[in-house]
Amino acid sequence: MSSEFAWSTEQVELRRTVRAFAAAASPQEEVRRLMASPLGHDPAVWSRLGEELGVLGLSADEEYGGAGDGLVSQAVVIEELGRALVCGPLLGSVILGATALGALNDTAARAELLPGLVEGRTSAALAAPLHRGGFDPAAVTVTATAHQHAASAGQTASPDGTTSPDGAATTGYTLRGSVPYVLDGAAADLLLVAATIGGADTDDDDGAVGLFAVNADAAGLIRESAPTMDLTRRQATVSFNDVPARLLAAAPEATAVLATTAETAAVLLAAEQVGAAQYLLDLSVEYARTRLQFGRPIGSFQAVKHLCADMLVLVEQARSVAYHGAWALDEGTDDPRIAASLAQSVCSRAFTQVAAMAVQVHGGIGFTWEHPAHLYLKRAYTDAALFGSAEAHQERLAQLVLDEAGAP
């Protein structure tokens, strides 16, 4: 436990380690090679991050292979991976998957599913609507139907999903529905799915959301890769045609787990936004120092210099807000809903603005395929839309700060 903004020496060292690893294992040529490959990442590099460096589960508990360090350390790692655009199932496995699994009451499921993600041996994806800036139960598009197994005759399946003393085997579920924009969904070994529990055996509790696990090889599962603007990040449309699923969390636990996951994801994605924006600032400043026009470096022109100064201000403020979020969620120093929405609304704007400014500082070269700027520009606008737009988060803040609390 440390006070806000007092990064430990271990965290400073962690940043150096991950930056050096990314520079060696994922230079830009490699990012470009992978973004054109079918899978989109190098599983060997991913598992080195998990097993050799041990940086994929820093906030996961130690008993599940994590480091129990908390979100600040995980944010430092994600900031550096974002800086270098390291390809891999970061969103699906780490930011969403490990977070959701780590929040489950079901310790058996955690013990079974988390270690693989933390070690980078397996990958996960979460099919749940988080794009409005929080978990939105009303937007769930999958339905779960409970089936009573013959083996458990004499026991009634509990429609709210609580398992009977004999264990989960008494009630089985199948899922129906389709979910678009599932991050890292095409290649994931494990799909975590939010579904509304209904079906033949239930007569009450309609509309309660549960969280389910589906195996990649489950019958009736169809995954279609969606062509993405950001080629370094994969998405899929995932359809479930009576796919057998295992209940991980019933209502109301599932909703709480997914709300927590949305908050954590908002903060961790903010760290990625900071790292990538910092890279663009560095790149722009370097270019402004060396590119000559009218017989002098363009950085000596105030129009360019002030653009760079504004980028610096955006990056520094984004960093403050992102890490405030990480500390707040770790140590309870702020309302997590406020800290998360602050992080996303500030960092989404900062990264998209910095990306646009970076292209401008570079002139024509910044618009070419060869130049890195467009990779970051695409990442910026994609990130801003993943877990709620800046406006969606500001609407949440308006409710929390102005409507509910008056002036805090």
């Binding site: 560095d282 000596s300 105030q302 210099k305 201000v313 520094e316 500030v346 308006a398």
Partner: protein
């Protein structure tokens, strides 16, 4: 920027826990001994000074405890909660700028004489830097100081001198060698505002008030013992003052919802009749920006060690000034026709309208926003300087107007 600013902001203390404890004990000790509610401001602040809690990074006996500056916040939090009057508001130029400048550049005798009444507010301070011909280009100033025996004789005119009408002392930057390039011919002094030849004329500003003045210096004698730094080193000393000015102005308010955003939030709370959906979103956006500003201030505070504030302090000044203007723009728009009224230009009350007008100066005073962006670009990001037509030329040959 090759190294992350984060790295620079990282280093601050994990091993400061013991020191923090002693700062907190000292602060509670002051409050236990003397009650700010029933004690005159100067007396209470004097007790804080004597306990070393004025600037904890100053030496013992000079208002400090010889500890890292980052621990100041620990003392301030306790003392402010206990009802301490704000020493900065009480004597802004003294506490914000003159104190750190004296600490960095004055000899022991001057510091012993001046720091305590400065902190208590018994002696107010002003800053005699800007001139009619030298604002952003401060180093181009014309006020002359000529050696005369064991002292100096000063002639010139200063302008925009805040609080000069109340000040006992002032920080003065004057030219001692017009034949050198402009930055090298400057020397730094402190001047007794009651000395013969110092004439203060109030200057009325857009709000109707006269917070600042013109100051005419005519044959003013200054003993050489009141020189800070070497002859010709005035610019370096002035940098200490300006960096502290920017960080003093730029220091964000301590708690969420405090500072100028409180005015907008208060208006929103008190006037539901003026609510609209568009204003609601605009205020939320301002609140978000105020939080980003506040948290960045917190981060800089945590990182601040015993060293003086560096160029990164300019981030806070720049952001805070522009944010203030946006906040009061919002208040004016929310007030609508009510905002068009102004109670009195002779003696205006401290209304939102007055604050709105006053905020226009925020992006000018203490370095304009354009100059601050230059500072961020050149000193923090190390971008090349602008083309200069005055480099290397003797000051007397530079065009002025």
């Amino acid at each position: 920027m090759s190294a992350d600013t984060a790295d620079a902001l990282v280093a601050a203390g994990t091993s400061q826990d013991d020191d923090r404890g002693s700062v907190e004990r000292a602060a509670r000790g002051v409050l236990a001994g003397i009650d700010p509610a029933t004690t005159p401001t100067a007396e209470f602040l004097g007790a804080c000074y004597d306990a070393g809690l004025a600037w904890v990074h100053f030496p013992v006996g000079f208002g400090g405890l010889g500890l890292p500056a980052g621990l100041q916040a620990a003392a301030d939090a306790i003392l402010a909660a206990g009802g301490r009057p704000d020493p900065f508001l009480n004597n802004p130029i003294g506490v914000g700028m003159a104190g750190p400048t004296l600490h960095g550049h004055a000899d022991e005798e001057l510091r012993a004489k001046l720091l305590r009444p400065l902190y208590t507010g018994e002696q107010m301070w002003a800053q005699l830097f800007s001139e009619p011909g030298a604002g952003s280009d401060l180093a181009g100033l014309s006020t002359r100081a000529v050696r005369d025996g064991d002292g100096w004789v000063v002639d010139g005119q200063k302008v925009w001198t805040s609080l000069a009408h109340l000040a006992s002392w002032a920080l003065l930057l004057a030219r001692t060698d017009p034949d050198l390039p402009k930055h090298r011919g400057l020397t730094y002094f402190i001047v007794d505002m009651h000395a013969p030849g110092v004439e203060v004329r109030p200057l009325r500003q857009a709000t109707g008030q006269a917070e600042f003045n013109e100051v005419y210096l005519t044959g003013v004698r200054i003993p050489d013992t009141q020189r800070l730094g070497d002859i010709g080193q005035g610019w370096n000393v002035a940098m200490t003052t300006l960096m502290n000015e920017r960080s003093a102005i730029g220091d964000s308010a301590l708690g969420r919802g405090s500072g100028t955003i409180a005015d907008a939030l208060g208006l929103w709370r008190d006037r539901p009749d003026l609510h609209s959906p568009a204003l609601r979103l605009r205020l939320t956006d301002l609140w978000t920006q105020a939080e980003a500003y506040r948290l960045t201030g917190e981060r800089a505070r945590v990182a601040r060690t015993a060293g003086p504030p560096g160029p990164e302090a300019s981030i806070g000044k720049l952001v805070g000034a522009e944010l203030n203007q946006k906040i009061y723009d919002f208040c004016m728009d929310m007030l609508g026709p009510e905002g068009t009224l102004y109670d009195s230009y002779d003696d205006p009350a401290d209304t939102l309208q007055r604050r709105f007008l006053r905020a226009r100066a925020n992006t000018i005073e203490g370095g304009t926003s354009q100059i601050l962006r230059n500072v961020l670009g050149e000193r923090v990001l190390r971008l090349p300087g602008d083309v200069r037509v005055d480099t290397g030329k003797p000051w007397r040959d530079i065009p002025r107007g």
